[in-house]
């Protein structure tokens, strides 16, 4: 069976995890590294670099390197204009932000798809190495911040599709973390998960009972995280927003979690100075915590355990403030970077096996409503409703023989349309012609277990199913996603070809080096005379020259042909050299001295 993995698609780093024999683990690269930096770089030739390689290119080719793209998911250009100065890449687009890398513009889901493809590749390489019969990874559970709205969730699912993954489920990061925590302890009680990552903040309050992880409430800020701390530090230093400065402040931030002071560019900064600088950011997380408690109908003292997730919770001030609020020390026995991916893998395993031991019941973070007369929002599904959730509303016509009705769907807590997030505009068509006010169109809004909305409608007098035309306010249409999937196949092919070419060149180089080493051997003249046939050396030399000539080309097959020719031409020589060294070893002579 093909494999189903759990993926934490983070602002700063991404991870992939898998459950084997009931135990979740993070899949690492050969060097033991679990994190794939969520960075994508594309050079002039169109070669795509992802992860550490792309991260290195931040310092050499920043304008062609995209990072923190999660902050742009499901956003329009107007939403992100204010922070564009912090990024070295070009930000454009309109209803959907685009990121320019060189001469090509990508949407955030496309950039994220490069990261997802890298994770997929990593997992597939791991399964192949384990000798798994079927190592293909074609399905995944992907995590998102709990406070992500419909557009951001949909963008994440689109990214999965573009990467060639069937996204079985979108789950919330804090909930995923609780699932990973709940594994080893069969506990019950009320827990708070405080998740401060690179770009987003979430707080979720859960009740755990009989293996059911029931989210009572959630709140957060999808634009608050470690990135903001870095930006603040850069502003404080006043040395610009270059990538070298960014790298230095991130290092300083890490240092200050361990030490009382550190230096950036020759300037000393103390932890106290750092803490007073970032205090406003940490304070901004406390309001959502209080709101989540109020929504759950709980006092801080009702919380029995506090779990920390996300790299930014390593900052001592964050820990102190969380402890102050809940009146108990938070625990973080699991690696805060890895716990979300582990939880996603657990959820993937539940979906595949149908194991009913554990069940996650999550909520929708934002109320869903529709625009009514006077620009006021009428709420249909309240925030913190357990999902799946549905709600319905009756519509009618205002004019005789009207056959279509426009519906504007919004997400948010404010009363006025303009203060909420526009999700989509629907046009109900095919209403049978009737006098005004007579049609009764029942519109059903369904939020699925991913927290994503779908809408169906039916006219009750005639039982006519209405067709619905959806125009997402900040998203891609299905056709656009399909096109991106096709483009990405071409890209993937180009990518694959580039890799193969590099490998072919490497192999050619290895063979040339080995051969030239033999030819330079001090004993070569003697060997040639005693063992090699007429013109054998000349043949080898001419093949080396030929291979060297084609090596610079991009024609992989020709390079491979010449490499094979060199291998064939040197086969006899290699055997002779081998025999000599064996003979030398048997006669007690040092091989190296040959």
């Amino acid at each position: 069976m093909s494999k189903v993995v759990g993926i934490d698609l983070g602002t700063t780093n991404s991870l992939v995890a898998y459950v084997k024999d009931g135990v979740p683990f993070v899949i690492r690269d050969k060097g033991g590294d679990a994190l794939v930096p969520s960075i994508v770089s594309i050079d002039e030739k169109g070669t795509v670099y992802v992860g550490r390689e792309a991260q290195r290119r931040l310092l050499t080719d920043a304008s062609r390197t995209a990072y923190s793209v999660k902050r742009f998911m499901g956003k329009g250009l107007d939403d992100v204009r204010g922070e564009a100065k912090h990024f070295p890449f070009a930000i454009g687009g309109d209803a959907v932000v685009t990121i320019g890398l060189g001469d090509k513009a990508f949407t955030p889901p496309e950039i994220s798809a490069f990261v997802l493809r890298e994770l997929k590749r990593r997992a597939e390489a791991y399964f192949a190495e384990q000798g798994e019969f079927d190592n293909e990874v074609d399905r995944a559970v992907i995590t998102v911040p709990a406070y992500f709205n419909d557009a951001q969730r949909t963008a994440t699912r689109d990214a999965g599709r573009i990467a060639g993954l069937e996204v079985l489920r979108i789950i919330n990061e804090p909930t995923a973390a609780s699932l990973a925590y709940g594994l080893d302890k069969k506990h019950s009680g009320v827990i708070a998960v405080y998740d401060l990552g690179g770009g987003t903040f979430d707080i979720s309050i859960l009740r755990v009972e009989d293996g059911v992880f029931q989210v009572l409430s959630t709140n957060g800020d999808t634009h608050l995280g470690g990135d903001d701390i870095d930006n603040l530090l850069m502003e404080h230093l006043g040395t610009g927003y270059g990538q070298d400065v960014r790298k230095a402040v991130i290092q300083a931030k890490w240092d200050l979690s361990e030490r009382e002071e550190t230096t950036i560019g020759g300037r000393t900064i103390t932890r106290a100075e750092f803490e007073s600088l970032i205090m406003p950011i940490v304070e901004r997380t406390l309001g959502p915590c209080r709101q989540a408690l109020a929504d759950a109908g709980l006092q801080p003292s009702d919380i029995e355990e506090v779990v920390l997730v996300g790299g930014s919770t390593r900052i001592p001030l964050v820990r102190r403030k969380v402890e102050e609020l809940f009146g108990r020390a938070p625990h973080s026995d699991l690696n805060p970077d890895e716990v979300v991916a582990l939880g996603a893998a657990v959820q993937a395993d539940i979906l595949i096996t149908g194991n009913r031991e554990m069940l996650l019941l999550d909520v929708t973070p934002l109320s869903l409503g529709i625009e009514t007369m006077g620009g006021v929002v009428s709420k249909i599904i309240m925030r913190n409703s357990t999902i799946p959730a549905s709600g319905s509303e009756m519509f009618t016509t205002g004019v005789d023989n009207q056959t279509a009705v426009d519906i504007h769907v919004l997400q948010g807590e404010r009363e006025l349309v303009e203060d909420n997030r526009s999700l989509a505009r629907f046009k109900l068509r095919g209403i049978p012609p009737m006098p005004a006010g007579l049609p009764r169109v029942h519109v059903q809004f369904q939020i699925d277990a991913n927290g994503i909305l779908s809408v169906t409608a039916r006219e009750l007098r005639t039982e006519v199913e209405q067709s619905i035309e959806v125009k997402p306010s900040y998203g891609l249409t299905d056709e656009q996603v399909e096109q991106m999937l096709l483009d990405s196949f071409e890209h993937a092919e180009a990518d694959f070809a580039a890799r193969m070419l590099i490998e072919a060149r490497n192999e050619a180089e290895t063979v040339i080096n080995a051969t030239e080493k033999s030819l330079r051997d001090p004993d070569f003249a003697a060997i040639e005379k005693a063992e090699l046939g007429d013109g054998e050396r000349q043949k080898i030399e001419s093949v080396i020259a030929g291979l060297k000539m084609v090596m610079g080309s991009t024609d992989r097959e020709t390079i491979q042909k010449w490499t094979k020719a060199l291998n064939d031409a040197t086969q006899h020589l290699a055997e002779v050299m081998m025999n000599r060294s064996v003979h030398a070893a048997l006669s007690g002579k040092n091989v190296d001295s040959l």
Partner: protein, 185 residues
């Protein structure tokens, strides 16, 4: 839609149409039914089964959310018994309070416009809020007593009284929200 009109939140959770319920029991029923219906367990099922799972779970979540809250529970029961709970005008029994409060709010707004101190306004608003809050507390007690009465006899007369109390209560909450708005203004 037809199938839906036959079932209701009480029957779906295997509960009698009563107003006093054991919350721990409700939670346990909710978890058990979630385990039965949740889409997580129907990933490999047929499209029809998946649709049913989604629909049942959505209905279950709605039922649980409604019945868990005592006031929503009463409102739901009233609706089930064919009574509307949307208020149109101020209930007659509250006219006196409404009148007094509106007068006081007008005076407070005027005082604010004339530059009264924030503390002063706060004190006056809190004083105006007190009798309304007392009224609401009295209503809570009434609702409890009436709920017990309904559970014992299933009397429609009791439902009518419950409906009046709920309408008054909604109105009181609107008044309190109005005061809250002035407080944060």
């Amino acid at each position: 839609m037809e199938a839906r009109s036959e079932r209701n939140f009480f029957s779906f959770l295997g509960l009698p149409r009563k107003l006093n319920l054991d919350v721990a029991d409700l939670e346990q029923r909710y978890r058990a039914l979630s385990r039965q219906f949740h889409p997580d367990f129907f990933y490999n099922a047929s499209p029809a089964e998946r649709r049913a799972s989604l629909e049942n779970t959505s209905y279950l979540n709605d039922a649980y959310r409604t019945l868990k809250n005592p006031v929503a529970r009463i409102e739901y029961l009233l609706k089930l018994e064919g009574m509307t709970t949307t208020a149109t005008a101020a209930p007659p029994s509250l006219l006196e309070e409404v009148f007094a409060l509106n007068e006081e709010l007008d005076e407070i707004r005027e005082a604010r416009a004339n530059g009264a101190s924030a503390d002063d306004i706060r004190v006056r608003l809190e004083r105006a809020r007190k009798p309304i809050e007392e009224k609401r507390d009295a209503h809570e007690q009434d609702l409890k007593a009436l709920s017990a009465k309904w559970d014992a006899a299933g009397d429609r007369q009791v439902l009518e009284s419950l409906r009046e109390r709920i309408l008054e209560r909604n109105y009181i909450n609107n008044l309190l929200a109005g005061i809250e708005k002035e407080l944060t203004a």
